[in-house]
Symmetry: C2
Subunit: 357 residues, 2 copies
């Protein structure tokens, strides 16, 4: 089982100082964080694409390429590439190039995107939300499968037997489908035999079991080898030695971001009570001690039969040292626990009780 981290390069006000760090400082920290994740033996680092002031990463492949020459073993992926509003030729070229500079460690995680800023910015209509994704994914897969491409669609110029360069080290370049929980999205991923990255950033993971079953069923029905139908869970988290402190730190940063996004989307402001439920034994968030976080990963491994677990450390800006420390704990404490228990075939049944810690 692979373990890793993803980030959007948040640059929101630091809850301790009230100061918002600049893009330059944020990128510097991000590169330090990726380097450390590699050094402590984590398997994957992902960067998401956003187009709003709270996030510095709009060009994940460029940041990951900078990280590639500072790391040795860790896989480098988008998380996600919003392919609906991008050109699949450029996306492929960027990640094939990342694959070359990283000696074969690049991956694409393609998603429809949970934010909508990229649509007006790149001239797309949100009304075409699903058709755009379907078409762009189709083109991306064609480019991945063959150097020369012929393709026609409604939302991008046709390609008539043209080659796309460069070609990556890995053939095929790994491509995951990131989904937020829509059944049609998981069925599509299964039908195409593509690995699935499911974001669970609220609610109870056990409620997603039927969705993962649906994915595997769709994949088997389409005739794909079950070992190809890999599953990753992406969730929020923070790891510290003291569970209460982890919760206090994560909530301060999280509540700022969620309140801001909530205002745009008409959500109620996040309550601490709700937050405690989310980090409790049955909740989706991985905020707590290394043992608590490991237990939740092992629990979800038991639920879903996971191949990969990625944690967003953190939602909103935290002091750099706390993020670095969480990465270290993830690699040196959580990962060995998870690997040992997964190897043993341990299953953790969570009590349906109150918060952890």
């Amino acid at each position: 089982m692979e373990l890793g981290i993803y980030s959007f390069g948040e640059a929101t006000p630091d809850p301790e100082t009230g100061r918002t760090i600049g893009a330059h400082e944020r990128i510097r920290r991000l590169l330090d964080e990726i380097e450390l994740a590699d050094r402590v033996g984590l398997d994957v680092y992902g960067l998401g694409e956003h187009h709003r002031s709270e996030f510095v990463v709009s060009a994940p492949a460029v940041v990951l390429a900078a990280a590639a020459t500072r790391t040795k073993r860790i896989r480098l992926t988008s998380a996600v590439s919003v392919i609906s509003s991008d050109d699949p030729v450029r996306v492929f070229q960027n990640f094939a190039t990342l694959d070359l500079v990283s000696d074969g460690r690049a991956e694409i995680m393609a998603g429809r995107g949970s934010f909508t800023e990229s649509f007006p910015l790149f001239g797309y209509d949100l009304a075409d939300y699903d058709e755009l994704f379907e078409e762009k994914l189709d083109l991306l897969l064609k480019i991945r499968d063959s150097e020369r491409v012929t393709w026609r669609g409604r939302h991008r110029a046709s390609i008539e037997d043209l080659p796309v360069f460069p070609r990556p080290v890995q053939d095929p370049l790994p491509l995951w489908i990131a989904v937020g929980g829509h059944p049609e999205s998981v069925v599509r991923a299964g039908r195409l035999g593509l690995p699935l990255a499911l974001a669970i950033i609220g609610g109870e993971p056990r409620r997603f079991v039927p969705l993962i079953d649906l994915y595997r069923q769709a994949g088997r029905r389409a005739g794909h080898d079950p070992t190809q139908l890999r599953v990753s869970i992406n969730s929020h988290g923070l790891i510290e030695e003291n569970s209460r402190q982890a919760a206090d730190d994560a909530f301060a940063a999280y509540s700022y971001v969620m309140a801001k996004i909530g205002r745009e989307r008409g959500w109620p402001p996040p309550s601490r009570e709700q937050f405690e439920r989310e980090r409790g034994p049955l909740g989706a968030n991985l905020v707590g001690t290394p043992e608590e976080v490991a237990a939740k990963i092992i629990y979800e491994h038991g639920l879903f039969g996971l191949d990969r677990f990625l944690i967003q450390l953190s939602v909103g800006t935290l002091p750099h040292e706390k993020v670095l420390h969480a990465i270290e704990l993830f690699g040196t404490k959580v990962a060995p626990l998870v690997r040992r228990e997964v190897e043993r075939g341990s299953v953790i049944a969570m009590p349906a009780g109150g918060p952890a810690g």
Copy 2:
């Protein structure tokens, strides 16, 4: 005066072995070459965007980002970004991100492109060649000048008061206009007050003096500060201790590429005689000993009043060691000579005679 190198990441057959190196090996060599260019004190490294099998670089910002974390001082630029067939929002985001990961060393060199593969690949019509460039440049400048952008054009979706992130370290992000010798292109660059990168890859540099005069005139007329009207020359070259050997090596690689491109464009195959003229005292190419190459740069500095000189080392694949050695000679022998003579205000008048060496 700044000195540097540009490359397209050629992967053509090695003239000595007949073997074409793969994309992975070529990228590895390229990163070594950029690292060495930085170490020997060169000022600029540029990577061009191409979309054909002979070149591995189609995503310059991604390769340059990988180079950024292996270098300290050298400026990293596209050479060129074919903005006519790209989205200026993505181009800006890629290079702003490169600027962040390189601590403020990124530049964009925008050009119309001397190859045409990108037009059908990205759905553009070559009939709009100049209008595309004009429009895309206009948008790129708007994004560079302000975080929020409002823009309308014919060849890209309108933008209605939207922000573009991230913002670079350098404000403004340096943007050069690369031209091949069209008077309207240099007038446009002058009118906009943008620095000019003139490719001279054949013929006699002295014949380009009126073009540079035209650029400076257009710039002054538009009211720009003359110190802002910077000029770079981009030319082919190779540096070795033995002038004849440099010519033999450069010609072998050069003639393969030029014959191949010439067949597509209806040029006659390159002759050694022509090649010798090009590397002679009045020719455009910088193939020879450190002293010969330095003399030609100083000569062209006298002709044009240069701010920058970039050499393409080499055209076509050469053994990695020869390229590394040429970079070392450029930094340790050519650069000190050029800097000293430029400081002294030396002017070299070239004899109108035969080949050098």
